[in-house]
């Protein structure tokens, strides 16, 4: 059995008081009986450290709304209501719940709880319309999953040969393409905002601290981090972690990349362009051992592009959508969603029998742990995440920075050590949830989940099964139309 991969989570309190879902008020007729502190499992209620006889102010942001304290309070003097700032967090895709849950995971490293039962959406757009299979949940869970049983979350990046040829002496004669082992199907993507603007010292500081935290986390976790190969990310500090860094070269014509740096990296990512293949060759010449990933926007004719690149020998394709999980480069009126497009590309490659020739990285709108599993079920090998990393560093997604306003949580000032641990906690919690899902499905490794659409129920299918019989209408649910 291989050595168990585990992520060491360390509770890391926030620097600023997070915006909680609930506001709690302790009435004046509290008798300091301490019942609330006894029944609260989230440490919202505590006695004052300096005087145990009195109750401390409730730590509101930790409240999950389980109402235990409300029910048990002998004086009925506690009040819970939804926080006023809470509903203003984020937007319709990055909901307050998502942001808050990621904060919680980054602080505690624990899997999230939703308090009074899971009221998650069982329908809706995108990943929300997928329900994962939990048929094996009766098997020994928890202890088994996190203890005795080994569930592997390792994925490989690179081309996988269908077979290896040996000569008569038993020596391998096949050309083995380079591969990278990632201990979990999550890598870090470039950040959608807050990225370096060359001249502004604020942004230099941001780079140093935020990217510094991400780089350290990536290195500690054994995963990888994609960064724009611009000037901004050349500082010595990050060079040291270049074994975990994937430079992303977006402007292929100017070749504005640092050749020495490329030589040191295990993997390089190139933005898709017409003549991307020539640049691929250039990079391969510089660093023959490196893996090349081509970053292709999900959009019109994406299957065609993927097919072409795969036949051209590209080992890794990074398909991306916008921040909210919608196609970027598409002429259709109704933009497709990451879940449908991934299925489409994956299915196309399977049909062509070339699926294992290429690794598919999918990114854009991956907001929760379950999205990772669902993207893989749709056919991705692994995912790349962006915003949740900023959430781990307390980002409130207020978008003030995009309007050149001051960041309310002063992201640029994060301590890289502190930030790295917060990211590690978040990823630790996400990985545990992935393991829970795999365990509930009876799977032992995440690689077997890829494209396993049978492991999920799709709302479209249920609707079709149920209502087509009733209304006998010819409605096509094919995502291709």
């Amino acid at each position: 059995m291989p050595r168990k991969y585990s992520i060491e989570v360390i509770p890391t309190p926030p620097r600023h008081t997070p915006i909680g879902k609930f506001e709690i008020e302790r009435g004046a007729d509290c008798i300091n009986c301490g019942r609330c502190a006894i029944v609260c499992i989230y440490e919202v209620h505590k006695r004052q450290e300096e005087d145990l006889r009195s109750m401390a102010e409730p730590v509101e942001y930790r409240c999950k709304g389980c109402f235990s304290c409300i029910q048990e309070c002998p004086r009925a003097t506690l009040t819970i209501r939804e926080g006023t700032d809470y509903s203003r967090l984020g937007d319709s895709y990055w909901t307050p719940e998502i942001i808050n849950t990621n904060w919680y995971q980054a602080e505690t490293g624990k899997i999230p709880v939703s308090g009074a039962g899971y009221r998650g959406p069982f329908s809706g757009e995108g990943f929300d319309s997928m329900w994962t299979d939990m048929s094996e949940i009766v098997r020994p869970t928890r202890d088994g999953i996190h203890g005795r049983e080994y569930i592997s979350t390792v994925v490989e990046i690179g081309r996988k040969l269908p077979a290896i040829k040996f000569d008569s002496h038993g020596e391998i004669v096949s050309h083995i393409p380079p591969t990278l082992n990632v201990p979990l199907p999550i890598i870090f993507d470039t950040l959608p905002f807050g990225a370096a603007k060359h001249f502004d010292p604020t942004f230099l500081k941001f780079d140093e601290n935020v990217y510094g935290a991400m780089a350290k986390a990536a290195s500690d976790l054994g995963t990888f981090m994609i960064v724009n190969a611009g000037d901004g990310f050349k500082s010595e500090g990050h060079r040291g972690q270049s074994s975990h860094i994937i430079p992303h070269i977006s402007d292929l014509t100017s070749h504005s990349f640092d050749a020495d740096w490329i030589k040191a990296c295990k993997m390089v990512e190139l933005e898709y362009e017409e003549d991307v293949l020539s640049v691929v060759n250039e990079v391969k010449t510089l660093n023959p051992g490196s893996i090349i990933s081509v970053r292709v926007p999900f959009g019109d004719n994406v299957e065609g592009i993927v097919e072409e690149l795969t036949y051209a020998g590209i080992e890794v394709i990074h398909l991306y959508v916008d921040r909210n999980g919608k196609a970027v480069n598409q002429t259709r009126k109704k933009r497709l969603l990451i879940k449908d497009m991934t299925q489409k590309v994956h299915g196309h490659l399977v049909d062509l029998k070339i699926r294992d020739d290429v690794t598919l990285i999918v990114s854009g709108g991956i907001a929760m742990a379950e999205h990772v599993a669902k993207a893989i079920i749709c056919g991705a090998d692994l995912t790349a995440i962006d915003l949740p990393l900023l959430f781990a560093l307390e980002c409130r997604y207020c978008k003030d920075c995009q309007e050149d306003l001051a960041c309310p949580v002063e992201l640029k000032d994060v301590n890289p050590e502190w930030g790295a641990q917060r990211i590690i906690n978040l990823i630790g919690a996400w990985r545990n949830q992935l393991i829970e899902i795999l365990g509930a499905m009876g799977l032992r490794e995440v690689r077997r989940l890829r494209g396993e659409v049978g492991r999920a129920i799709f709302l479209e299918d249920i609707e079709k099964d149920t209502f087509d019989k009733v209304f006998a209408r010819r409605v096509s649910y094919d995502a291709n139309d």
Binding site: I31, N32, C33, G34, R35, R53, P74
Partner: protein, 630 residues
Amino acid sequence: MAETVKTRIEELVGDEARVIDGDFERELYSMDIGEVPFAKQLFDTTPELVIMPKSVAALKKIVRFANAEEVALFPRGSASSGLGGVVPTVKGIVLDLSSLNKIVELNREKETIKVQTGVRWSAIEDFLCPETLALRAYPSSFFSSVGGWIATGGYGIGSYRFGHLKDQIESIEVMFPSGEVKSINSKEKEFARFFGTEGQFGIVLSAVLKLRKKPEKSLPHLIYLESAEDAFVFITGLINAELKPNHIKYMDASHLEEANTFWGEHLFRLKDAVLVEFEEEEEATKFRDFAEGRGILADDYLSNYLWHERLFPMKKRSDKPTPLACEMVIPIANAVSYLKEAKIFLKRCGLDVEVESHIVGKDRALLMLSYMSDVRVPKTYLTHMALIPVLTRLGLKFGGVPYGIGIWNTPFINDKYDTKTLELYRAYKKEVDPNNILNPNKFFAVKTKMSNIPGILFKTRIFRPLIRISATVTPILGKLASSKGGLKEESVLEKIVYSCIKCGSCAAVCPAYLVTNEESVLPKNKLYLAKKLLAGDVISKTDSDKIFLCTHCEMCRDVCQNDLDLVTAWTELEKLLESQFGTPEEAITEFVSTLESSEDYWRFVYKPFFQKESFTKEIVNTDILSFYGG
């Protein structure tokens, strides 16, 4: 001697009793609610030991021991009387009976409840909350013990309808000084001897109380009348009209004025008034017809408010902290004449008197005259105190009898009981308590320190001329004293320590007292410690630490009869002690963990009376009994 007695008693009873010998704690047991500055000069009021027996068996051992060794025993309930009935006279042992407080048996068919006498009336009411039965009459000091009410007055709320306490008890169990326990039922001639005799003959261990069906309604009515005369005419008329009120109470205009001052609003008319409570709608309707034309009926919420206040009779009414009162049972027919004379007399002394009277029978009223004084001004205070026997003496003239005896009313024993009864009691005392160990040197006759020379003053023959002198001199002295003006107040704590009347209401709701069972954590006793501290006395660290055993739950403030700002007081007191001894963190940590692991505490916290529903004048028909669990 104390040491050896302590060791021997501890050997005798083991864990079955708590033996308390701390200096400060013993001092706490040296007084009742009466503020008598010279008590310590006359008697050895500080007991040598305080024992809190946890079982009847343990109590028996202690009583036998005391009888054999001739050590005086002073049984004690919640000490909410002020006549010295529980105050030790010759050191001895105080028996704190508050741990013998079990509710033994509820008999739903016979509608009776058997309780140990250490139980508080409020606790019985609380226990009966889920039942269909309720108490008959109860004392206005609702937090006092059953045993205490048996040994003292026996008149209270509901006495008009249900009569004296002894009419509501089926039987009692008594432990005599010999250790013998005897059950006595109400038909036996011995029975009545234990009521109002302040533990002279034996320790009442348990009582079977008669209950009744829970009333469906509480319909208090307040009627304004033009004068005290009108009020008592009204009351007499009401009694003759054969209506069935539960309770009738008279209040004079200054009583209502006090309520107005308390609310800072002109709620009540400044008239004499009668508060009548009915439980049946029908009777109340009849009553309203009866009252029509005789007086003015007040708004419902005002009636309800005053009805609620019946259990808080000691509300503060002036800037002076110490209340003094004279309580007498007097024929209704003479009540007005007595009141008139008493008021004229007190006015001459420069005192504002407040009168309240519970009608306790068809022809008798329990009359309470009270006025405020200030114990910090000793000379004036003593003069004011001297007026109580004068008022009592005046009452006797109108056929009244003092309500209780204790120490300070001993000169009136001959007026309370006729010669025959008294002789019988004396003989009975000799028979059951030949060594005179139970509550000695009071009631029958006072015996003081210094070869009883000061005690002579308490002899009826000497006492009467004395008070006659005092009646002539006091008005002059009183006027002189009251013209001096008040003292200036410094801190809240300072103000409060002298305002606490030690009524003990706080004991029923104090969670710290519940889990520690320590007299010194009680709010009233914390204030006593504060008083000593402010006076410059030395406080030990052990006693100081106990002050911090407090959850700051503020329940004491809610029930405080005097409406004292105890919350601020505790903060100030703790600050004072912290500057001397530092914060006793260990003691606090241990206290909190004891509290949280105490099942009693959690049961207590979830009791209905903790579910605060504050009484405001907007809430009509909210009754204090529902507040405390009824």
